[in-house]
Each structure stands twice: as C-alpha cells, then as structure tokens.
Symmetry: D2
Subunit: 346 residues, 4 copies
C-alpha cells in the first residue's frame, strides 16, 4: 500500500499517518519526492483495509498494491489447475471443451433431441437451464426440479456430463444430485453466500463474469469459492455491459489471455450471451478459441424459432455441427503456431 | 412491438413474419415505408417474447414498445405509493426521510452510540449492516445474527425503526424479526429468488439499484416484488458503474425525477456509496434533496477512522448534525419554488 | 511513480529497473514488502513517461502519483480563478451565471426573440450555435458566419455578452470578432491543436467535458489551454456516456464539488445536453446549483417545437422565466447553509 | 419512425401528433394497441428530425427506424468496397493487410530501421506518427513536417506505402504530399470539419472508432467522408472505453463481423492501442484475423524500451516477425473453414 500525501501536507500530518500505520502493526516508510511525500506500507501479508488512514488530514490518495485475491493468482500458485467434469478435463494442456445445449429445459423430448444433436456434433458437456433468471417476472421462469431430471436423463442417454445454473442455496442439493457442473450466473457473481456455499461442495463450479465486474472483482469472486476449499472452478467470460447496444453485451476477449496470465484457473467463453445474435456466434467462437479459451459454452436448440428463451442467439443443430468441425480444424492449426502464447513476453 | 424488415425483404418474408405473429395470437399490421416495410404488432397485453420472430429471414430489428414492468408503472397506477416503515412514512407528500447509521454493526456499544448520534441529529430510521457483501473473502463479513440484536436494541433505545440488508433467503426470518425495513443491496438487485421471497412478506423493502442496471431493469426488479403482493417498496439510487474512477461510483441524480415520472414508488438516494468520499456526502445529499428524492441513506459512524468498513465515506456525528440542519432548512426552501416539479411539462 | 515488481522478481530484475530509473535522471528507492518489492521513484518534477520501464522483466505494474496537469491544479495554485466574460464574472465568490439561448442560430428574428426572452428572465450570457456538430452529415449544420452576426446583433440589442462554439482553428478569427466567450464542445475536448490555439488568444474559453473523459483527462485538456498562457477557462459538465439510455447522457453532478477541490478553475453545468429532456432541465438545474456549480448553460427557444436542433431539450421562454426565479431564490437560500461546502472536510 | 403514445393519451393528443407529422410532409398511420396507440410515420426518405413531435403532449417515446447513414450501408450498397493504398488493396476478397511501424516518428534512422524490420517481416504498409495527440501538454508531441519526410523516405527505401495521422485541416496538404493513407484518430472521429475535408480528397482514409462511439455513430462518421465523394474509407476498431481498467481499452472484436454485415467498407483492427500491453498483441491479432478483420495495425519499434511513446505496447522486430508468420499460416487455415462467415445466417 502506498499513501500519497498532499503537495502541502505538514510534517505533523505525515507523522499522524505513520502512527496510524504502526497502529495496524505495519511499517511506514516515507518516500519524500520533489513535489510531495508518499508513504510506503511494509509488512502486510495481503490486502490492507485503509479505513483508518484514508481520511486523515493531508492524505491525497491511497494506492493498493496487493490484490483482493491470492489463492487463485498465478503469482502465488504458478501451476495451472485442471478441472474435472465427469470424465472431461478443462484447462491448460487439455483440448478445448464445448458445453452446448438449449438455454432453457422445456420438455423431456426437447432435452433428448438437444442432447443427441450436440453429442453427434462432438460436444463434450450438455447444458440446460432449469432455473432461469429473467429481467421481468412475467417471462418463463424454468421448469425447476422436473427440468433437472430431464437434463440428467438426456445426459445419460448420450453419455455426456451436464451443467446447469443454480441461483440459490436451497437449489444446491438438488442440483448436485442431477448435475456434474454447477453454473453461477453473471447476476450472482457477487452473491457471496452462494459462492461460499459452493466452495464447500466437491462439485466443480462454472463461474460467469458479472455484467460490470472488473477482472479483479471476477478473480476475487473465484477466491471466495477456492478459499472455502473447492479449487475446481472454471471461469467464463460472457460479455460486459458497455454503452454499445448493437450487441447484447460487449464480448471482452482480451480477458482470456489476461486471466490466463493472472490466474491458474481455466477460462472459457460464452459467445451466445455475449453477442445475443446467432449469426455472430460461429465467428466469435472461432475467435475465442484463437484467443486461447479453454472451452466454449454455446446455445443450441433443435428449433430456435420456437425456443421459450433466447432463441435469437441459439444455433440450429446444423449450424452447430458445422461450427464443431471448424473448431476441431482450427485447434489443429493452433498447434502449429510459432509465436508466444498469451501472457508470455513477445 | 414493431418489426423492422430489411430494405430488400421479399413479400414472402414479410408474410412469414405476419404468420409468426398470428401464431402468437396477435394481429400484424404492415406499415410500408419509402425505404422498407415495418410490421406493427397489435393485441398484446404486455411484453411479447420475440424469440420466434427475431431471426426470421428479412427481419432487421425488433423494437419493443411495452415495458418489462407494469404494476410499478405510473402509467397503469397513477396514484403515488406511500411506504410505511414503523411510524415513518416515505413517498410523495411526506417530508424527506433520512436513514442513517454505520455501514457495519461492530459492537453493541458502537450501535448505541451511533443510534444516539443520528437520533439527536434528527434522523428518522437507523441503519446498520449485520451481513456484509465484500469484494474479497478476506475482509470483515459482519456480525450476523448477533449484530441484528444490537441493531434492534439500539433502535428501541432511541425509538427509531431500523433497516438492514439481507443477502439470502435463509436470513429473512431472522431479519424480519429484528428489522422494520429490509434492504436488498445493489449486488442482489437481480437475485430474483430473493426478490420473489420478500415479495411474499408484509415487511417493507428498500431495493437498491444494481451497479449496471438500467432504469428499466431497476423497475422490472421492483416488479418482481410487487407482483408477489408486496407493494411496500422504496427504490434507492446508489451510483452506477462507469469509466470514471475518481468517485467510487457515478451518482445518477437524473434518475430521481425520471423514476418519479415512470413509477409510483418512492425513491431515495445513497450519496455515501455513490461517491465513496466523506467530503462529497453533504453537498450531494443537498443536491439529491433538490432533485426530488423522497429521502436519503447516509453512513454515519462515531469514529469513522476506526470503522471496520467504509470509514472513508462515513460522516462524523458532528458532520451529520450539520447536514441535517441544512436539509431541514433546504426542505423549507423547496416548498416555495415556483417552477414545475420533476416529470411535469415545463 | 511507484513500480510494483512481481512476487518472484529476481534481484537482477530489480536492479535493472533501478538502472532504468537512474537513466532518466531520477532516484530509485526500493521498498521491500512481505510479499514483493516495490520501487519508489524520487526527484521527478511532474509526470514521468514510463515507456522505458513498463516492460522490463519482473515489472508487474506501474502506478503514477503525479497527474498529467499542474497549472490548473489547486494543489499548486490554491487561489480560485475568476473568469471575465464581458462585464460578467464567473467563479468562486461570484453569483451563479446563466448562459441561455437556442441550440442553433436559425435566423435574425429567432435570435432577437431568444435574446429578449432570456434577458427579460434574467440570464447573464446569450448562447447560440453557428457551427453545429451533428452525428450524421444529412442534418442541419448551422448558419456559419451569417449566424455569428445575428448572434452579436442580438447580444448587443439586449446588452448581453455572447458565447458560441468553435470547431476548427480557421473559425477562431471570425468567432473572436463576434463572440465574448468561445466554447470548445465535448467532441473537441481532445482536439489538442484547437486547445493550443485558443490558449494563445486573450478570449475566455468554455471547455466542455468529453463524452467519455475522466476528470483527469478533463483537467489535462484545460492544462493545454492554460499552458499556452490563457487562464480564462470555464469548465462545463454536460453528461457522460454510460450504459443508461433513458437519458441522453448521464449527468455527473459529483464532478462539480470534486473539480472545485482539484482545480482553481470555475465549473458550470449544462443540464439540457446532459438529460436531453425538457422536463428534467429545471429540476436538474436546481440540483446543479445546490451541488455548487458556478453557473448553468441552458437551451431556450421561443418555439421549441419548431427548433431545427435539439428542440426536445429546449425550455420555452415561460419555463425558463420560472426557472430563473427559482434559481435566484435558491441562491439566497444557499447563503444560509451551515454545513461545509464542497471539498472541505465534514 | 414510430411515435409511441402514453397509455392514457387523448384522441386530441393523437390528432395533434398526426398533424405535426403531416406538417413535415409525411404520412401518419395510427396503430391502436391493446394498451396504447402508436403512430407509424411513412414516406420519409431517410432519418427524420423529431424535434417538432418529441415533446407534444401525450408522446411517450419516439423510435427511429432509419439510420443516420445510408451511403456506407450494405443495405443500400451491397457490393463490398475495396480500398487501394498505393499498390495494396484492402477489403473483401483481398488478403489481410498489415500496417506496422512505430507509434511516433523519432528520427530518420529510427524510421529506416523500423521500415526494414517491418518490411522484412512481411508488412504491407508502413505506419508512423508525425503529429501526436497526447492527454497532457507536457508529453512529446511529435516531429511534425520533418517527421513526415522521414516517413516517406523510409517507405520509399523499402517500397511500402505509408500511413500517418492527421489532426487538423492545415496538415492535410502536407500529409497528402508525403503519405499514401491518412489516418483520422479516435479523438477526431467526430471532428466533422476534418471529416468533410478529407471527404473532398482523392486520398484513402483510415477512420478509427471513437473511444465511446457506438457502431451507428462510427458508420455515421464514415458517411461524412463518403457523402463528400471519397469512398476510399477503411474503418478501424481500436478498443472502446469501459469500466475495465486492466487493459488500456476494451477490444470489441464483435464489431468486425457486425460492421461487415452493416457496411460495405473494409474494417481492420488495432490490437496495440486496444490492449496497451505488448504481451496481448500477438494473441489478439490472431483472434482479430479469425474474427474476419480485413487487416491489422500494429505498433513495432526497434527498441520499445526506448520509445518516446507507447513503448509498452510496441512489439520488437523479432516478436513482429513471429506474429507475421503465424498470421500468414492462420490465413491459409481460414480458407478451409466449413461454417458461414460473419453476417450470414448459421
């Protein structure tokens, strides 16, 4: 931590800050500059709460050097984490993993059809939502427990592990029984109680980035889960909210190499929610793969035009099959690149 | 709903859209223009899901005219709602309500001191957090149930109703027992299960705007609560996330008159979280009052320098007392204005 | 400047950074911490370009303590600047100044009518645009030089100084001849050549904040003008671009007290462009005044329904007259407040 | 254009709106709905200014269907535009074009070295900045006319066309003499006078997206140039400003396929400015290529550690050579994809 003093801070003010630092059991090291004094703080073993210092007279600004996360950082834990979802592995050194299926579970037959579609195209994990977060209360809210059974049945039928979103702690027992991977959605990225609770499970977790979460907050949210003992966390970029309204969200692909350099956790990309437009999904899926994503989450529906949710961003079975061919081909191509991968000096 | 067709959409494509509209039980009315055709949709009684239409060939864009909320809109419910919190009333025609107290409940003595401070300065509701949402897992997380008791005790001691934040459904029983007003924080504005659950209580609810929530989403979140039967909802603007980092968030005061024109629910402002800086709180409190806020939520701490949470944005007792005097004075002044209040044509 | 090293940076890497700092003629002071080393940079007399250091091996992050502006900062120049526009003064200690008139100059008669309207209501400066920046090339672009003459004539007729926007260097001679205050619009806030050029004039300048400019960039833009010798600069907050689309921009009123604490230059507010809605202009004007603005810029049109530009956000003469009464009354009220004004400790 | 009336708008109010539409020479077509009436506007040949309607009593909202651009839209001009820069072609059907070189022209020798580096690696166009827009006035501002000569000399030496940024109209003559492609930077995207002026030249133009410009505004800015007669415009995505500060800007790659579907103009990507970090440039360059970019603009410096500007985001010659190999290889791979390219239905 660095405390920057005002240009004209008095010696008394500087000493008061030094005392406040000492009171926290830390060391203060003044750095007199040409124009002002800064005070370095030494001896802390992590993020320091600056509440008792921030507002002392003469303090201009406080700069935090330590991050609000540590266990998920590559700085402290260099080896890459590989997450296991059933028999599928996700992370550095593993082939990219594709999670596919409909936004909402609508019926047993729809899930079965979807499962066969995505399996035959080569997907690795089946997705389907039983509990749906919707902006307004008058939209379709999901089939709930019934839906989870359909999802599990469909997954077993085609021999794919399944992923589904949980929105509240009470759903965890049920979801753990039926699903192989639990998704925490963007709206719940800072639902800290939910994070702590899944941190105590043995089930792997897919954590989506919040709509307006910085990378630092994203990793701090993952830290909540890992700090409780569960290091089986896959991160997922799904677009952030910006001023641009031509796409549903703004897909922030740079976050993929950046997170790979900052953290040892795997990161995948959801181009369906990020763009909100079916025609953009294949091209952005390919771009995400090339940006270094460990996998993709893609909405596929047997009849997108009749989907109860997000049909406009769902691929048809045929579109998805073509995309899978291209992803496999591109993956081969990537193995032959000469340049540095993300995060290494060029 | 209006469907805008491509410049060169064919007659067949236009007819296919008309059929899809009919299939939803609605009427299609083509509007041929100089450059392209648009198709109006009639007969809907609310927001229409466009999934089956959005992606038909020739469709350029779909424009929704209906909003994802209805019960909270002034359009359908012109009379202003007044919310009762204990003996305090909040809304149009009521004097502005000030909710004040520390960010976190830290001890019985700290809550008592805070309660006496804010009561003697003239506050109407006592605030204090027992469950704290913190970005990283290594920060102080609140006293929990023990804290709620301190809050209630302090409130009774000074005869003020109390407000506290709830973060999960399991906390509701406890919180209802000890608090007079339940706060849903910004991070939980789209925790829809929590919203539905408080919608079934008889307890009034303070709903904070999400960090990146549009006004439309904010009102749709309130609709979740009201749709379940609880219309005792107070909205709270607490700053939104933008590119600007000089303040903790960007206080969006225009939302106050705008929400007052769009909805019948009362709206208050939290300048402490919005600005994150103690020195900006008094001036922005006064500005919020003049912008038409039905009340304010302000952090006050007997010793901000030693606060466990958000000390930098907390007023001292003395600072708060001065502010309360100014607010009372300003409120008198506002009664003598000539011009139109918010939402009326100038 | 502070250079934060990686957790596992080697001694050689740390020494290489120290050498690079020396090569810039500056002093390096290592600050060994519990988890990593940081290196303070001493001896600089302003902002240091970090290009030669940023990318050295082992460097995690570089934190700048110095700001990209100095002459406009209150830290280095505590006395408030008062700007003179004709016989009108703007700044600390002066009554708030209202600049009013139509968005576009449309005709001689329209300018005269506008001038009489705003003068009789009590405005202090007459505004009118001769050169109009419009998003698309097919919209009305302004009357140019002819318009400037109408503006000057109207201003003289009612004895008010006039302000108008300049968009290119070639317009400066003309604009200086006809106007008393030159406006640099939001789109040109970082048109650095234009800034330097007006910095060499003796004419006062109204500098609007860019749509996505941070406060730091806003003040650095003002520094361009002041650094050339012209300290007669008035800043103007006019709303920033955020994800919210319900208002044209998001009015960032906190910037008013914040800029007043960071800079000695006066700052006014333009609620017309910020909100884009006539009904919000009076209420946000009053809030801006209470937030400490040194003045307001308000669009007024004799017949807003027939305006060639931004009619929807223009007040009628009657609406403006009511607002002026309220502003005068509120200004009296503000003189009697007890609490601290912006920027002082509470 | 569609005018949405209030739920309880009166018949008189609806008729007044119809009359205002007629007064514009357009046709009004009321669309009575279950809850409110909307009024379609027919007969317009482009964007309609809504100033005379927007604020009539009973009007809730106005929705524009026409866009503020037309000549650059693919809807009205389906054939793709190919831009010629010297002997290099940019656009659909052409191999991707790489523009590379230093941010700033620093000396004759530095430009020559840079030119040889990028030529030998296979770049197609040489870049170099003679006029530099810098946030603060105390940073290096460029060599000006002298720099342009160095740039031209270096380009001729290695037989590459050259591109450079222009910031003001007075620089155009000079820049046209020395450069083959004129760049309009992000800060000047809405410097409309400059746009009009380059629209009257025969020289091709590289138009960078403004920091907070929507796609619609970006295309409307291009329309300014094309409307003056110059259709040789290359668009360039260079990152937008969001709340995320971990990268310099947020690279919005979805804009590439989206712009390709909306416009016939070519679009390239600048990953150097978008990310601001050297280590991210190669990976994001590859991703941009796969997203469909018609080319890339990349900062390369013989000694990035000693660059006067943006060294932290510049590749070394060696890093750039590796990247060029990978881009060429990837380009071959892309030719063998099965799936639809951007903008086509999946």
């Amino acid at each position: 931590m660095l405390i920057v003093m005002h240009h004209n801070a008095t010696i008394d003010q500087i000493q008061a800050v030094e005392q406040a630092i000492s009171a926290l059991g830390l060391l203060a090291q003044p750095i007199p500059g040409g124009q002002r004094t800064a005070i370095g703080v030494l001896g802390n073993r992590g993020y320091v709460d600056d509440a008792t210092i921030r507002d002392l007279p003469g303090v201009l600004e406080i700069i935090h050097v330590s991050k609000p996360y540590k266990m998920v950082s590559r700085d402290f834990h260099p080896a890459s984490t590989v997450v296991k979802v059933g028999s599928v592995v996700v992370g550095d050194g593993c082939p990219p993993v594709v999670m596919a299926g409909p936004c909402s579970i609508e019926s047993e037959i729809q899930m079965l059809e979807s499962a066969r579609l995505v399996k035959s195209a080569g997907a690795h994990i089946l997705r389907g939502g039983a509990f749906k977060p919707r902006t307004g209360p008058h939209s379709f809210q999901g089939l709930g427990a019934e839906g989870l059974k359909y999802l599990q049945t469909a997954g077993r039928e085609v021999d794919l592990p399944v992923v589904t979103e949980v929105m509240r702690i009470e759903q965890l027992d049920l979801a753990c029984r039926y699903a192989d991977l639990l998704q925490i959605g963007a709206r719940n990225m800072q639902n800290f109680d939910l994070l702590k609770e899944v941190g105590q499970l043995r089930c792997p977790v897919l954590l989506k980035r919040g709509m307006s979460a910085t990378i630092e907050e994203f990793l701090a949210a993952a830290e909540y889960i890992v700090a409780e003992g569960n290091d089986q966390v896959i991160l997922c970029e799904r677009g952030i909210r910006t001023f641009e309204t031509a796409t549903r969200n703004t897909l922030d692909l740079s976050v993929v190499p950046l997170v790979k350099s900052l953290s040892h956790l795997p990161i995948i990309v959801d181009p369906s929610h990020a763009t909100g437009r079916r025609t953009l999904v294949p091209v952005m899926s390919r771009a995400a793969l090339v940006a270094g994503a460990h996998g993709l989450m893609i909405e596929v529906h047997p009849s997108p035009d009749q989907a109860l949710c997000d049909g406009a961003q769902s691929l048809t079975g045929q579109g998805f099959a073509l995309l899978m061919k291209d992803l496999a081909y591109l993956q081969d191509c990537l193995a032959k690149l000469h340049g540095p991968v993300a995060g290494e000096p060029a």
